[in-house]
Point group: C2
């Protein structure tokens, strides 16, 4: 079927189909690796024609860009806000748990960036910005915990701890996937990841 000859669907249906295509693309990229998935695979998975996919996204490049913008928005939503309003341990935990979930949902963007960024270096720069964003947020959160007398540490130690917290947070899911050569992370593994991050902070906690 030639994509140019498709009848444009009604607007509401269009939005629904577009969302479904994006969600399927994200799932397949996550599960099979971005390099192993084509527009045809996505169409086949949805039981629609490749032309229908093409109506919404002309290339994987377009899809990846759209998914990247979604991830950026999610990260912003989680990390924006007045840090000085945070005053309980539970709030730190919530932000950490949300970070794990966001990274899991868009993990191919992190994991496969060497592949997809080859023909869109500008997006790779934005990934680096997002990485810095996460890293800085960890540093600010630790600083706030020190202010609240939840943590006690030297200024220099804080920067190194922030880097280690970021690395364990960022790569926990990769580690889980690699250690067992399996594909679905369990809720128990998510909790285990959060416990690993706590273990980093633990020696500096004021009981």
């Amino acid at each position: 079927m030639n994509a140019h000859h498709q009848t444009p669907p009604a607007r509401q249906q269009r939005g629904k189909t577009r969302d479904l295509i994006l969600k399927t693309a994200r799932t397949l990229f996550n599960e099979r690796g971005e390099a192993n998935v084509t527009l045809a695979h996505i169409a086949e998975h949805l039981g629609i024609s490749e032309g229908n996919v093409w109506y919404y996204f002309h290339s994987k490049r377009d899809m990846i860009l759209t998914l990247f913008v979604e991830l950026e928005a999610r990260v912003e939503r989680n990390l924006t806000g007045d840090l000085t309003k945070i005053d309980q341990m539970q709030q730190f935990e919530d932000i950490l748990a949300q970070s794990f979930h966001d990274m899991w949902d868009y993990r191919f963007l992190y994991r496969d960036h060497v592949n997809w960024s080859m023909d869109q270096p500008a997006l790779n720069e934005r990934l680096a910005v997002l990485t810095q964003r996460g890293h800085c947020a960890v540093e600010s959160l630790l600083e706030r915990m020190v202010q609240l007398h939840l943590l006690h540490m030297k200024e220099g130690d804080r920067s190194q701890l922030a880097t280690n917290v970021w690395i364990v947070t960022r790569y926990w899911l990769d580690h889980c996937q690699e250690r067992a050569a399996h594909h679905q992370i369990t809720q128990a593994e998510m909790s285990e990841g959060i416990a690993q991050v706590y273990a980093l902070v633990q020696p500096y906690l004021l009981a």
Copy 2:
């Protein structure tokens, strides 16, 4: 040129060409991502015919397997040995530094495994074994440091610390590449990675 009609080169030259092809493949896989490199790219980079490459390796699959076996041998060389003979901090540092270098030299195997393992799941299992090997080695080394009264910690803390040491060691290079969207790791970044691992152990050190 048809590969089947190549005149077989002399044995010594064969070994040399084979090594050169492997080294070039490893470099290109590392720098461009395995999915973006073909046998033709490797031939072009070496200024030889694709048929000549084909004489040594019929597919990328063959190359990846050979490179994987090289990595396994390197890891074994670094981690095998009688741990009870280790009695100085310097020896722990040497093993750590060597681990960083080995992972750097074969980083595409770790980083791109979602791609290359699609058609060789058995090799993905072996990567999981190698990961477990590294993780266990960290745990044994920490145990030895406790025996030598270099470290002081509870049994349960040791296991969590071992996991965090492994994650920071394993993903340090990925983190460096991601935070700056650049491609060559400097010696300073290697040293910074080692310092980050020390920072993990530091709260448990007995001065």
